[in-house]
C-alpha cells in the first residue's frame, strides 16, 4: 500500500474536524501508514460469501411503547455548555457563515 502523504493526512483531518499542526501531520503520515500496512493483513483472509458482522446478537427487543418520559431539565443541560443563553434556551456558537 502507498504510504500516507501529508496531503492525505490533511484531507482526513478536514473530514474529522481536527486542526493538526505540522508536526502532527508528519507524525500521523508515518504512523497511520504503519498501522494500515499492518492492518492490511485482513486482505489475505478469504471472506467470499461471509456476511459482515453488523451487530452482536443479544436477543433484544428494540421496540418500546411510545409514551412520554421525563427527560433532563433544560436549564441543567444548558448550564454545562461552554456558552449558552439559559433564559432563552439557546446554545451559542460563533457565526456559521463567514
Amino acid at each position: 500500500m502507498a504510504p500516507f502523504t501529508r496531503d492525505d493526512v490533511a484531507a482526513i483531518a478536514a473530514l474529522a474536524h481536527l486542526a493538526l499542526d505540522d508536526a502532527e501531520i508528519d507524525l500521523f503520515a508515518r504512523q497511520l501508514g504503519e498501522i494500515l500496512s499492518y492492518a492490511n493483513q485482513v486482505q489475505q483472509v478469504d471472506t467470499t460469501g461471509v456476511p459482515p458482522t453488523e451487530r452482536v446478537p443479544t436477543d433484544h427487543v428494540t421496540d418500546r411503547d411510545d409514551r412520554l418520559q421525563p427527560s433532563l431539565d433544560r436549564d441543567t443541560v444548558l448550564a454545562a455548555a461552554p456558552d449558552a443563553n439559559v433564559d432563552r434556551g439557546f446554545f451559542r456558537v460563533p457565526r456559521v457563515i463567514g
Binding site: V9, I12, A13, L15, A16, H17, L18, A19, L20, D21, E24, L27, F28, Q31, L32, E34, I35, L36, Y38, A39, N40, Q41, V42, Q43, V45, T47, V50, P51, P52, T53, E54, R55, V56, P57, T58, D59, H60, V61, T62, R64, L72, D73, T76, V77, A80, A81, P82, D83, F91, V93, P94, R95, V96, G98
Partner: protein
C-alpha cells in the same frame, strides 16, 4: 483496614453489625489519602459524599442487613457518568464535565447499597493499553511503581490491588478490564455484550464496549455482576435474558467442564514466564477435574487488525459529539463555527485519541469503506464463527490474559503499533461479544502479576466464574498483596 478484604467478608461484617459502613468508608479514604499520591489511581475522590451515604446505610438496619452490597466501597472508572460528580474520561475535553445523570451501572450498584468513593484514572476516552494516554498523567502499578498498571481501566485495577476498595467498575472495549486486572493481580470480568447497560458509559466503540467489575475474587465479581446485570430501557442493546444469581454456581467443582486451549494461538510471541504460569494454571484446572481439549481459533490471529479497524471507525463516529457546543471544552478565539470545531478538538483531545479518530475517519471514508471497514467486519464474523465452533466442543476457552507482565512506563508509549499488540488475547472476546474473566495465576521472578483468561459462551458468565472460583480455591495468588508504604 480495607486492604485484603473481600466484598464477601465485608458484607458479612456490615450486615452483622461487626463493622459500621462509615468506619469502613473512613478507612478506605484514609488509605487513599496516604497511598494514592504514589499511584494516582484516582482522578476524583468524593469523601464527604461517600461518608454521608455510608452513615445512611448504618442508620437503615433493613438495608444494612439485606442490600447485597450494603456499605461496600466501590471505585468507578472516570468514563462512567456519576450525577453531580466530575466525569472526565481522563481527557482535557471533559476536564470540568459534571454529568446531570447517573449511568445505569452506577444507579444499580448504589441501589444495591455500594458506596461510590471516587472516580478512577484511565486512558483518555478508554483508548490505550497502559493508562499512559490519560491527560492527567499515568497510574503506577502497585506492584512496581515504575511500571504501567495496564489499561484502560488501570486506575480501577490499581485501586483494588492497593486495597483502596474491594471493588471497582471498569469498561472493556478490547481488554480494558481484563488486561489491567491481570497486570495488577486482581480479578476482572468483561460480561457478555448486552448483559450490562451501557447507558451513561462515555462511548468509545459501541459494538464492543461493556462495563464490568474488578475485584479480588471471582465470588466478589459474581456479587457485583448480580447488581449490574439486566435489561435497561435506556440501552436498546441490553438483553432480556434471565439474570441468574451468579454466586449460586460457585461450588468449587470443575468436574465435567471442558476447557479449550488454542495451542497455536498462545505459542507465539508470549513471554516465557507467562507461558510457564499459564501451563501450571491449566494443570491446576485439570487437577480440579476439568478436561483440557486442544482447539483451534484459526482467525483469532487477525483479531488485532480487525479490532483496530472496527473500534477506530466506531470511535471516530462516537467522538464527533465533542464539538465545543453542548458541554465540555471549547477552543478559544475561533471566529467561525467550523474553525471552532477544529480547534476545540485539536486542543481538547490528546495524541492517541486524535490518531484513532484519524484512522477511523479514513477507514469509513469513501473509497476505503469496503476495503477496510466491511472487510474487517467480515473477518469479525469468521472470528465469531471460530468461537461458535469451539463452544460445540468445550465450555470455556483458556488463554493468558496478556502476552507479557506489566511493562515500564514509557517503554512502548512511542510506537502505537507496539502498544496495540498487547491486546492480542483480549480483543477477540469483544469482537465476538463473549464474556471473559481474568484471574491471577502467578508472578514473574520480578514479582509482577500474571493473569489467566477464561472466555465463555454468550450469557454464560456462570461457567467462567465457576472455573475461576474453583481455581482460586487451589491457589493463593489472589491473596498476595503488594507492599505499599505510605505516610500514615
Amino acid at each position: 483496614m480495607i486492604d485484603g478484604t473481600t466484598i464477601r467478608s465485608l458484607r458479612d461484617d456490615i450486615a452483622s453489625g461487626k463493622r459500621r459502613a462509615a468506619d469502613v468508608c473512613r478507612d478506605a479514604l484514609t488509605r487513599i489519602a496516604s497511598l494514592d499520591p504514589k499511584l494516582h489511581a484516582f482522578n476524583t475522590v468524593v469523601g464527604e459524599r461517600a461518608l454521608e451515604r455510608a452513615h445512611a446505610i448504618d442508620r437503615d438496619p433493613d438495608k444494612r442487613r439485606h442490600a447485597p452490597l450494603a456499605g461496600v466501597p466501590i471505585a468507578i472508572k472516570d468514563n462512567i457518568c456519576t450525577a453531580g460528580v466530575l466525569t472526565t474520561a481522563s481527557s482535557r475535553m471533559l476536564e470540568h464535565y459534571v454529568p446531570p445523570y447517573d449511568a445505569t451501572a452506577v444507579s444499580r450498584i448504589e441501589a444495591a447499597g455500594a458506596i461510590v468513593i471516587g472516580k478512577t484514572n484511565c486512558d483518555e476516552f478508554a483508548m490505550g493499553s497502559s493508562n499512559e494516554t490519560s491527560a492527567f498523567g499515568p497510574v503506577r502499578n502497585p506492584w512496581a511503581l515504575d511500571r504501567i498498571p495496564g489499561g484502560t481501566s488501570g486506575g480501577s485495577a490499581a485501586a483494588v490491588a492497593a486495597g483502596f476498595a474491594p471493588a471497582a467498575l471498569g469498561s472493556d472495549t478490547g481488554g480494558s478490564i481484563r488486561q489491567p486486572a491481570a497486570m495488577c493481580g486482581v480479578v476482572g470480568l468483561k460480561p457478555t455484550y448486552g448483559r450490562v447497560s451501557r447507558y451513561g458509559l462515555i462511548a468509545h466503540a459501541s459494538s464492543l464496549d461493556q462495563i464490568g467489575p474488578i475485584t479480588r475474587t471471582a465470588y466478589d465479581a459474581a456479587l457485583v455482576l448480580n447488581a449490574l446485570s439486566g435489561f435497561d430501557a435506556a440501552d436498546a442493546t441490553t438483553s432480556r435474558e434471565t439474570v441468574p444469581d451468579f454466586t449460586a454456581a460457585l461450588d468449587g467443582a470443575a468436574r465435567g467442564l471442558r476447557v479449550g486451549v488454542p495451542r497455536e494461538l498462545v505459542a507465539d510471541g508470549i513471554d516465557d514466564e507467562v507461558a510457564a504460569a499459564f501451563g501450571t494454571a491449566l494443570d491446576a484446572l485439570a487437577a480440579r477435574g476439568a478436561t483440557l481439549v486442544d482447539i483451534a481459533l484459526p482467525h483469532a490471529k487477525h483479531a488485532i487488525p480487525v479490532y483496530y479497524l472496527v473500534a477506530t471507525a466506531e470511535a471516530s463516529s462516537n467522538l464527533a459529539r465533542y464539538d465545543g457546543v453542548r458541554y465540555g471544552f471549547r477552543g478559544a478565539d475561533a471566529k467561525e463555527l467550523r474553525s471552532m470545531y477544529a480547534h476545540t478538538r485539536a486542543q481538547g483531545f490528546g495524541p492517541e485519541v486524535k490518531r484513532r479518530i484519524m484512522l477511523g475517519t479514513y477507514v469509513l471514508s469513501a473509497g476505503y469503506y469496503d476495503a477496510y471497514y466491511v472487510k474487517a467486519q467480515q473477518v469479525r464474523t469468521l472470528i465469531r464463527r471460530d468461537y461458535d465452533a469451539a463452544f460445540e466442543l468445550v465450555d470455556a476457552v483458556a488463554m493468558p490474559t496478556s502476552p507479557t507482565a506489566a511493562f515500564r512506563i514509557g517503554e512502548r508509549a512511542v510506537e502505537p503499533l507496539q502498544m496495540y499488540l498487547a491486546d492480542v488475547f483480549t480483543v477477540s472476546a469483544n469482537l465476538a461479544g463473549l464474556p471473559a474473566v481474568s484471574v491471577p495465576c502467578g508472578f514473574t521472578r520480578g514479582r509482577l502479576p500474571i493473569g489467566l483468561q477464561l472466555t465463555g459462551r454468550h450469557f454464560d458468565e456462570g461457567t467462567i466464574l465457576r472455573l475461576a472460583d474453583a481455581y482460586e480455591r487451589d491457589t493463593n495468588w489472589w491473596r498476595e498483596e503488594p507492599a505499599l508504604q505510605g505516610h500514615d
